[in-house]
């Protein structure tokens, strides 16, 4: 039985206790550090035994939902099974022990994996070259937009500072554009979920640096007029950026380069099943067509005869530069490499097919059970959107209430209130690794909650009831900031 609450690690602390066997011996030479540079008081760290720490953190783990323990249909996050082999084989002792600045002659095996990973990512996306340094999707986005801007600058075209983003885009897209010093121009999306082509035509011009698109879009549908979009943007002198958030939906079916994209970032922690780790580490590899190759971030791994080498600024003088201290999240890249080798070309195609099958099956079943889907006339991609606007109106039970109640049914909630265009929405992404039985159980839970919403709405509104905590007071958290533990302060309203 999982614990309901767990004290803070500091509350186990006893002066003089410790995991002594883990500590090195006290050195027999004195410190050669001037007194004024020395720490006057020890830091606030717990003094606990090894068993105290092991129990505490094991109990904390038991307070989490995870893919290993629960269905986790979080839209746009691709929470598929993370194969155990990927972790085991990326953490072989020699891999873990290798220093990032060790000679490349002592890392040929690592570099070979990274080089092959670059090649496989190019093959999947149709891009000409790839770089693996960006450490998360958002950093891959930054690299992509920075390359687009560098390209325009290199041609002396300094006026192109505007990045076009559809209204439905993930918040990272406009945030990235701003972080790159570009201005953001939003364009609307039509009622059928496709980009408003006339609005796009009106938006492009001599200030257009590029457009950022996810395809399939965040609305869970394929952008059908993508070829036309590409023509319009290219004709105006802009470039197309592909946000790889939804790449899982199209593996082997269509390649971003063939759709007209010039640059792409891939979330290896989504499509290639490296773990999310409770919020990172991810990896945001980037791929580019010939136009942008000179600007790729370093390092890039190349093969010269039988030797692998990573390129530096000397090899690539026009690079947008380095984005991580060393080679990015190598351990994550190795996991993605193992995953791709395990699946091979046939397996990777099956990924998209079964992700689409599961999403469209859920859509059909939920629609059949009376739920309103956001784009009923469209195929679902690998995810789908249900809108609970009617339930919110009739029973005053919101999408958030549904989400919280699903937790009581032992299922992680779908993404709520995103995309912002659809009111009271749940964005549901089952992924290809879930069985029909799991999907059926999800539908049954949704039907049951819908019934509760009519018959006992308060029960849904006050959910969850069975988790370690009840619904948390976000307003208090933001107003009475309590971000670190103060040993001298009383814990808030701690029951006896």
């Amino acid at each position: 039985m999982a614990p309901r609450q767990e004290p803070l690690i500091f509350q186990y602390s006893r002066a003089g206790r410790g995991a002594v066997d883990q500590w090195p011996r006290e050195p027999d030479t004195p410190l050669e550090i001037p007194r004024e540079l020395q720490r006057p008081r020890p830091p606030l760290l717990p003094e606990v035994s090894e068993l105290d720490a092991v129990r505490h953190f094991t109990r904390l783990s038991q307070l989490n939902f995870s893919i290993d323990t629960h269905f986790y249909p979080l839209g746009s996050c691709t929470m598929k099974y993370n194969p155990k082999a990927c972790n085991a084989l990326a953490t072989l002792p020699q891999f873990l022990a290798r220093h990032p600045l060790a000679p490349e002659s002592r890392g040929q095996g690592v570099l070979a994996c990274l080089h092959e990973l670059q090649e496989m990512l190019c093959a999947l996306t149709g891009m000409q070259a790839a770089a693996l340094g960006p450490m998360a999707g958002a950093q891959g986005e930054l690299a992509g937009v920075a390359m687009i801007l560098a390209h325009h600058r290199s041609r002396g075209d300094l006026a192109r500072r505007e990045i076009i983003v559809p209204q439905a885009a993930h918040g990272t897209n406009p945030a990235t554009a701003s972080m790159c010093g570009a201005t953001v121009r939003e364009i609307p999306v039509g009622a059928d979920g496709d980009v408003d082509i006339e609005a796009l035509r009106a938006a492009v011009g001599p200030a257009t640096a590029g457009i950022m698109l996810t395809n399939p879009s965040t609305l869970g549908v394929f952008e059908r007029r993508i070829v036309e979009v590409a023509e319009i943007v290219h004709a105006a002198g802009g470039l197309l950026y592909y946000d790889g958030a939804n790449l899982n939906a199209i593996l082997g079916k269509v390649r971003p380069a063939d759709m007209g994209f010039d640059v792409i970032h891939m979330n290896l922690h989504k499509t290639f099943s490296t773990p999310h780790g409770g919020g990172g580490p991810g990896a945001g590899a980037v791929g580019v067509g010939p136009l942008l190759e000179p600007f790729l971030p370093i390092p890039i791994v190349v093969r010269e005869a039988d030797h692998y080498r990573s390129l530096t600024e000397r090899d690539r003088p026009r690079t947008i530069g380095r984005l991580s201290a060393f080679m990015g999240n190598v351990g994550v890249l190795l996991r993605a490499y193992v995953y791709m080798r395990l699946l091979g070309s046939e397996g990777l195609s099956q990924v998209a097919e079964h992700a689409a099958l599961n999403a469209n099956y859920l859509l059909a079943r939920l629609a059949g059970a009376g739920f309103e889907v956001a784009y009923p006339s469209r195929r679902a991609s690998h995810e789908l959107i249900v809108t609970l606007e009617r339930q919110a109106r009739d029973s005053e039970v919101t999408a958030m209430d549904f989400a919280k109640r699903l937790l009581d049914y032992g299922m992680h909630a779908p993404t709520t209130y995103f995309p912002l265009l659809v009111p009271e929405c749940l964005l549901i992404e089952p992924t290809e690794t879930e069985s029909k039985e799991t999907l059926d159980a999800f539908v049954a839970a949704m039907v049951s909650i819908a019934r509760e919403a009519r018959e006992d709405p308060e029960r849904v509104r006050r959910a969850p009831h069975t988790l370690p905590v009840r619904r948390l007071d976000d307003v208090r958290a933001a107003k009475q900031l309590d971000l670190t533990w103060d040993p001298d302060a009383r814990a808030p309203d701690r029951p006896g």
Partner: protein
Amino acid sequence: MAFIPHTAADVEEMLAVIGVASVEQLFDEIPPSVRARGLAGIGDALNEMEVTRLMMSRAASCGFALSFIGAGAYEHHIPAAVWAIAARGEFYSSYTPYQAEASQGTLQAIYEFQTMIASLSGMDVANASLYDGASAFAEALLMAARINRKSKSLRMLVSRAVHPHYRAVARSITSLQGLNLEEVEYDAASGRTLVDSLRAHDGEDITALAIQQPNFFGVLEEVDGLSEWARRRAIPVIAVVNPISLALLRPPGEWRGGADVVVGEGQPLGVPLSSGGPYFGFMATRMAHVRQMPGRIAGRTVDLAGHEGFTLTLQAREQHIRRGRATSNICTNQGLMVTAATLYLSLMGPQGLRRVAAACHARTRALVEALVRIPGVRAAFAAPRFHEAVLQLDRPVAPVLAALERREILAGLDLAPDYPELGHALLVCATETKTAADIQVYASALGEALEARTAA
């Protein structure tokens, strides 16, 4: 092997429910003109046994050399309990804790981590981590520009004794927003950044000052004087620190002039070297600046029933709410690494962490003493150091490193590419993992290499 559970019967049944004849039909909204025909260039699947064989041979090529390289990534003992617990599926395969009620484990661990990092840094608050030390440094510069809105110049003074890769990453990221990184020379005799070199900028509009302690050379900076220079001019101070060193060294929050943003590489806290990542960057600041801090932050609050619990907070700073006007585009932290670091810091505690720091300090001192006894080797800088040192040889470093590598010793980092003015300079590090015998092996091999070359 795509980890797909469906039987053929399942697929038939599901297609019937959808009302299509084939899986292929599910892709009929993709324009035929751009459809891919199969997947070339990936190769056939290997089964787990075959991939295991492949990866074992790839790993073997890395070997296990005796390493004295530091330069921003450090070999420390990692208690087995750290990854035995951090790698549990409940941590490993969970997402960012957006659904707080279903993520209390991750959230509480982050809150504990924030407490530890804030205390180590001598600051009020810390975030849930950034990607790595270098990108955290870039974010700190952007944050300092938001803190110091009175300054219009966007001129950031950065000591040249800050890690060269950190400066490179900061340039890549912050130049996009027009920040100007201006390098401040270090003193050739001591390896320190002198307050005198800052005085050249008296009266100028400076947006922030960045100092690394210990600096890239392992030398201890005169942080009181440097921070005080900035404080008197109301210039925010960014401190780049090594978290292990903070067990021994005065935390930036207690420098005479204080610090506004403290960042560093978290790798030394229980994270394996792994060719450079995944690591994590940490960031701490004063409460007054908390809304300018990027990244996720966990906070403690209460639930409907009045029980305490944890949730992400201050999310209005972040990209999913502020979109184009967020403090950063960052979404994730490096959650799993932070879980490991919190475990590591719990097992070490204040005493253990101090012992690790003191042992590193003592080992490096012993290493330097042993190496400078060799003719042709001298220590470059006279100032006190933490656990790294710059040595100068009487000949180019690269061939010497190659000779030692043939004897399974990674003897340090050649500084010629980044600091040519230092001559034949080598950066070395000995952590608590190096024994007296290891140091002797290094010293003998280096002695022989230099002798052999002289003879030749």
